[in-house]
């Protein structure tokens, strides 16, 4: 058997001895990342008292419980393997890993096994695990999800069964049916509807109760009062054998509205999942230097003024000022820019950035809780739970509407009771007012139109996570755009190439392949597109020169690639200057080629922004990049309002400012740096290939990443909103005619049934008209 490395071989023998080698069959076509040898020196920290207090819970049996995120899982076979290995470990009582978010819950007996041993077991098979705090938020989200799920199951079961009984009912209504059979069907519907109304519909009763306590009439009030009154009326009709029962509309209202609410609960849970993985992947301790002695200190214990050592590849968790050494930092999670930033003595270092290439020392200027990374995560947590939603039109209208209907029904009842003197007639007429007014047309007005709107959007690669977002988006009057990755492609590409002397492009390819710098990647893309049959060459003495370029040798020749300052340093005349980034390639100190690279603006961005502005929407650009390049891009696409050099929380603060001015803000972004701003905005749009966090906190995802899609999102939402307004207008009109008739006591079951279904048909038909929407540039 052939193994690519020692690590994989070790894992194989371990699995074979445990009898778990079927893992390799289960993998199928998935290829594994080579297992890396893990350092085990940090294992002791898992058994420390402070660690235990923070992450481990003790349950009533005296067992320990911890939540872990398992790193390195890429398919379901990995989950299987981890679970099996944990099950075989002595002392572990329970181990379950979630297939979708790779979170694990492990319960073990502290007398038999230590946490460090458990972590070591996971590492020994090539994965890694780090603990996270399953804050109440996640547990609550999980519980809500479960409870909704059960309620929906009951509701769907009830609805489906009542529907087929109702078909018999309707058939009997038109062809005639003996009262005896009718009674049987009525009782069966009653039995099925009761759990649906009181178990599944409990959420609406609760919502209506809270609304009542706070003097708000909301959608829940409408649903609860409508369903309850129809239910009471139906019981009355059933027991007195007079009139028709409406159990089917009771369960249908409950089921449809419940499913809509469940989708909202789901989308909230996703956001919580990603937050945990950001916090979990940050180091829990740093190396500090005190009087020349190095020691590992937990990040909570670092004080302002402590000297911290940073090694290549490490993530910064504490803000500070560089004191010795210099190096490049990846600040993409803060500014969105892919290009590393070169820092030297006296420069400030921000947490969240990653040290790329050298060992440096810096002095802490803040403690952990004050550092940028922690404050970003806590801000994000806050804004997810407190996302500002504007009040929705349908809800306000139906709020007023249901109050008015309830009052009218009460007055009707009182009036009939006084005039007619019969309690029974008064009750029937009063309830028939509620029944004819409430359910169908008004209930369907919004969902039907938004459903059509969402499905059209989805066909065009625009995913709206919730129906109500269409309405919010239609009302928005300010669009905030991120620069890198949203207006531009987010990666530099070659604009112009000049060759001074013939050379083998394979040499240049080999040279740029040794670096991960975005400029090198841009050159690689350019070369592979332009030339076929490039060879893979082996270079010697590869040296990367801090923020300037790369140097390497090939068969006695010296290759040099980099920017103008690298050439100057080597005494080569570069004789050009340009506003774009330049990359020179020199062989034996002689420049043979020059490339101009720049981050290109996405196709159609300018036209789209022009069209959006002509719709009367203000367009603003927010970016973490420096002023000059921001202004340049803004000028090219036609944006006058530019805010540059913004840190993640500055972006969010700006959006809050706009909102305080009364604006409804749509924000488009793609990176981790945009996440808080996205969560703060009224509608957040994320690019489909953006960072996970950005996608999860956003309300709309653009799969094809085209700027035109933003315009389309506006068009679709405005059209849908218009249809919603038309529908509401119509159903109000219907009620203005139908309710007085019901008040006057003219409504018999036949008229009620006919007018109800007719009004619903009108609403559905009107919503379907959204499908005729045409987009620019299409026939």
């Amino acid at each position: 058997m052939y193994f690519c490395c020692k690590g994989c071989q070790g894992v194989y023998h371990l699995l074979e001895s445990e009898g778990l080698d079927t893992f390799y069959d289960k993998l199928g076509n998935t290829t594994l990342q080579p297992a890396t040898a893990r350092i085990s020196e940090d294992l002791e920290k898992f058994d420390l008292e402070g660690f235990k207090n923070k992450y481990i819970k003790t349950n009533e049996d005296g067992l320990y419980e911890i939540h872990l995120i398992i790193e390195g899982i890429h398919c379901s076979a990995c989950v299987w393997l981890n679970e099996k290995v944990l099950h075989k470990t002595d002392g572990i009582i329970e181990a379950s890993i979630n297939y979708s978010n790779n979170k694990a819950k492990v319960v073990w007996d502290p007398e038999e096994v230590k946490l460090s041993q458990i972590i070591e077991t996971i590492r020994s098979i090539g994965y890694n695990a780090y603990p996270y705090d399953p804050s109440l938020q996640e547990e609550r989200a999980n519980q809500a999800k479960k409870s909704y799920y059960s309620r929906i199951l009951v509701a769907v079961f009830g609805t489906m069964n009542i529907m087929w009984i109702a078909i018999a009912h309707y058939a009997g209504y038109f062809t005639g049916m003996q009262q005896g059979f009718k009674d049987i069907l009525n009782v069966a519907e009653f039995i099925l509807a009761t759990p649906v109304l009181f178990y599944s519909g409990w959420i609406f009763f609760r919502g209506a109760y809270y609304g009542f306590k706070n003097h708000i009439v909301n959608m829940d009030t409408l649903v609860a009062s409508g369903a309850l009154s129809a239910y009471i009326y139906s019981i009355y009709a059933m027991t007195t054998q007079r009139g028709e029962v409406y159990f089917d509309s009771v369960v249908m209202i409950i089921t449809f509205v419940l499913v809509g609410k469940y989708l909202e609960v789901l989308s909230k849970k996703h956001a919580v999942d990603t937050l945990d993985s950001i916090m979990g992947s940050t180091p829990t301790e740093v190396t500090t230097l005190k009087e020349g002695v190095k020691s590992l200190v937990s990040i909570e214990n670092v004080q302002v003024g402590d000297l911290i050592e940073l090694k290549p590849g490490e993530k910064v968790v504490i803000d500070g000022v560089l004191t010795s050494g210099q190096g490049s930092f990846d600040e993409s999670s803060l500014t969105g820019e892919n290009e590393p930033v070169h820092k030297q003595q006296g420069d400030s270092i921000l947490s969240g950035s990653i040290c790329l290439d050298s060992v440096i020392h810096y002095e802490a200027s803040k403690d952990v809780s004050g550092s940028l990374l922690t404050s970003i995560v806590s801000l994000l947590e806050e804004s997810i739970t407190k996302k500002p939603h504007i009040e929705q039109l349908a809800n306000t209208i139906s709020g007023y509407f249901s109050t008015i209907i309830l009052v009218i029904a009460l007055l009707t009842f009182a009036g009939w009771y006084f005039i007619n003197g019969s309690f029974e007639t008064a009750l029937i007429v009063g309830i028939s007012v509620i029944v004819i007014a409430c359910p169908c047309a008004l209930g369907l007005a919004t969902p039907m139109a938004t459903l059509v709107g969402i499905s059209i959007a989805a066909k065009r690669g625009l995913l709206f996570k919730e129906a109500t977002f269409l309405e919010t988006m239609a009302k928005s009057d300010l669009l905030a755009l991120d620069k890198t990755g949203t207006i531009t492609e987010g990666k530099p590409s070659v604009l112009k190439a000049e060759t001074f002397e013939d050379f083998d492009p394979s040499l240049l390819l080999a040279l740029v392949n040794t670096s991960n710098h975005p400029i090198s990647k841009g050159i690689t893309t350019y070369l592979t597109e332009k030339y076929d049959h490039l060879q893979t060459l082996q270079l010697q003495n590869i040296k990367s020169i801090e923020a300037k370029g790369i140097e390497a040798g090939f068969e006695g020749r010296m290759l040099l690639g980099g920017n103008a300052s690298l050439l100057q340093e080597r005494g080569i005349d570069s004789h050009t200057n340009s506003e774009n980034s330049l990359f020179f390639f020199a062989i034996d100190n002689k420049v043979v080629a020059k490339y101009e690279l720049s981050d290109t603006i996405r196709k159609g961005a300018k036209e789209t922004i022009g069209q959006i502005r002509s719709m009367g929407i203000e367009v603003v650009m927010l970016t973490g990049d420096h002023e000059q390049s921001a202004k340049k891009v803004a000028k090219e696409v036609g944006i006058d309002q530019v805010h540059a050099k913004l840190l993640p929380q500055d972006k969010s603060a700006l959006i809050q400012n706009f909102q305080e001015e009364g604006k409804i803000v749509v924000m488009v972004g793609d990176g981790i740096n945009d996440a808080i701003a996205l969560a703060q905005s009224n509608i957040a749009i994320a690019m489909g290939r953006g960072a996970d966090v950005a996608i999860n906190v956003s309300d709309v995802v653009l799969l094809d990443e085209k700027p035109q899609s933003i315009l389309e999102a506006y068009t679709i939402s405005r059209r849908t909103y218009r249809a919603v307004k038309e529908n509401l207008g119509f159903s109000l009109l219907y009620n203005v005619i139908a309710v007085p008739l019901a008040v006057a006591g003219f409504v018999n079951p036949l008229i009620a049934a006919l007018s109800m279904s007719l009004s619903s048909l009108v609403v559905v038909g009107n919503s379907m008209r959204i499908k005729f929407l045409r987009f620019k540039g299409e026939k």
């Binding site: 049996d61 059960s150 199951l153 009951v154 049987i184 069966a188």
Partner: protein, 86 residues
């Protein structure tokens, strides 16, 4: 068709459906649907071996409980035997 037959038909079919519903609700309550991907993916690895594995875990749990009780009893026993020195 007599009324009794209609009652019987509706009753039996609803009862059968209700059994299925109860089974589903039990599944939700015991956390079998917590993870949508597991629902689909883990089915591929289901077999005799997995059943044995599950049995093993349950036995482990039982054993642990026994041990914990024993420990508890011992601790209580110690308490009872403890006499304050006067």
């Amino acid at each position: 068709m007599s009324e009794n037959i209609v009652i019987l038909m509706i009753g039996v079919s609803t009862f059968l459906g209700a059994l299925g519903l109860i089974a589903l609700l039990w599944g939700v309550k015991t956390g079998q649907f917590d993870d949508q991907s597991k629902f689909i993916d883990a089915a591929r690895y289901d077999g005799e071996e997995e059943l044995r594995d599950a049995v093993m875990m349950e036995e482990k749990k039982k054993e642990q409980k026994k041990k914990a009780q024993k420990r508890k009893r011992e601790a209580e026993g110690k308490k009872k035997n403890y006499m304050p020195a006067d």
